[in-house]
């Protein structure tokens, strides 16, 4: 039972344009969501998060949007840079769950 899905395995965008990565979840008990970025041969690193009481959180070039009714979140990167090329994982958690459930990742390629 895959509770967190990233339906696009890959995404390619031009440098300077917007990258939009999507994530859907099925468990209505999830109330905290995080995005991680992973380079090859390295572990994931935390990027940005959002609580279910909000619908938007912004940090520099990165913005996460949450649509609870649709059980959907997205990560926007503007402007995209070649260094953003990586695998992006979304993760979801119930508040006291003590663990995060991860999606299977979207590989973003930003072309110069």
């Amino acid at each position: 039972d895959q509770q967190v899905k990233q339906n696009s395995p890959s995404l390619s965008v031009q440098e300077g344009r917007i990258s939009i990565l999507n994530c859907d979840y099925t468990n209505s008990m999830f109330d905290y969501f995080l995005w991680y970025k992973k380079y090859p041969a390295e572990g994931p690193t935390f990027l940005i998060s959002i609580s279910s009481i909000k619908d938007k959180n912004e940090d520099g070039r990165f913005t996460v949007f949450l649509n609870k009714s649709a059980k959907h979140l997205s990560l926007h990167i503007v402007p995209s840079q070649p260094g953003d090329s990586a695998v992006y994982f979304c993760a979801a958690s119930g508040w006291n769950a003590g663990k995060s459930t991860f999606g299977d990742g979207t590989t973003l390629t930003v072309k110069p």
């Binding site: 109330d31 905290y32 995080l34 991680y36 041969a41 390295e42 572990g43 994931p44 690193t45 935390f46 998060s49 609580s51 695998v87 994982f89 958690s93 119930g94 508040w95 006291n96 769950a97 003590g98 663990k99 995060s100 459930t101 991860f102 299977d104 990742g105």
Partner: protein, 114 residues
């Protein structure tokens, strides 16, 4: 100075052997985790420890035994290795077990079973 370090980075061994992977964090975090990333790239949690106490134990074969000698270390011992154990294993830590605590990951241990 590496925050979460795992050793070894690569581990190649034969079926039936017993092996250990070590993990140390120097962030002063209370909570540590082991994840398995299989060929489909899913990161699946295996275990979580908070202040040396086991708080999460997902459906993992008994051949896998975590040990936390102190808050800064969480080691993973695997008995009687099987072909299906081939994967990348990630250790992680966080300040607490709350959902709002981002996890800091090590660089992974790539385990290959011959």
């Amino acid at each position: 100075d590496t925050a979460v370090s795992q050793t070894p980075k690569y581990l190649v061994t034969q079926m039936g052997n017993d092996k250990s992977i070590k993990c140390e964090q120097n962030l002063g975090h209370d909570t540590m985790y082991w994840y398995k990333q299989d060929s489909k790239k899913f990161l699946k949690i295996m275990f979580s420890y908070n202040n040396k106490e086991l708080i999460i134990n997902e459906t993992v074969p008994n051949r896998f035994s975590p040990k936390s000698p102190d808050k800064a270390h969480l080691n993973l011992h695997i008995n009687s290795l099987e072909l299906g154990d081939s994967a990348v294993y990630f250790c992680a830590s966080s300040q607490g077990a709350g959902a709002d605590q981002p996890q800091h990951f090590g660089d992974g241990t790539r385990l290959s079973i011959l």
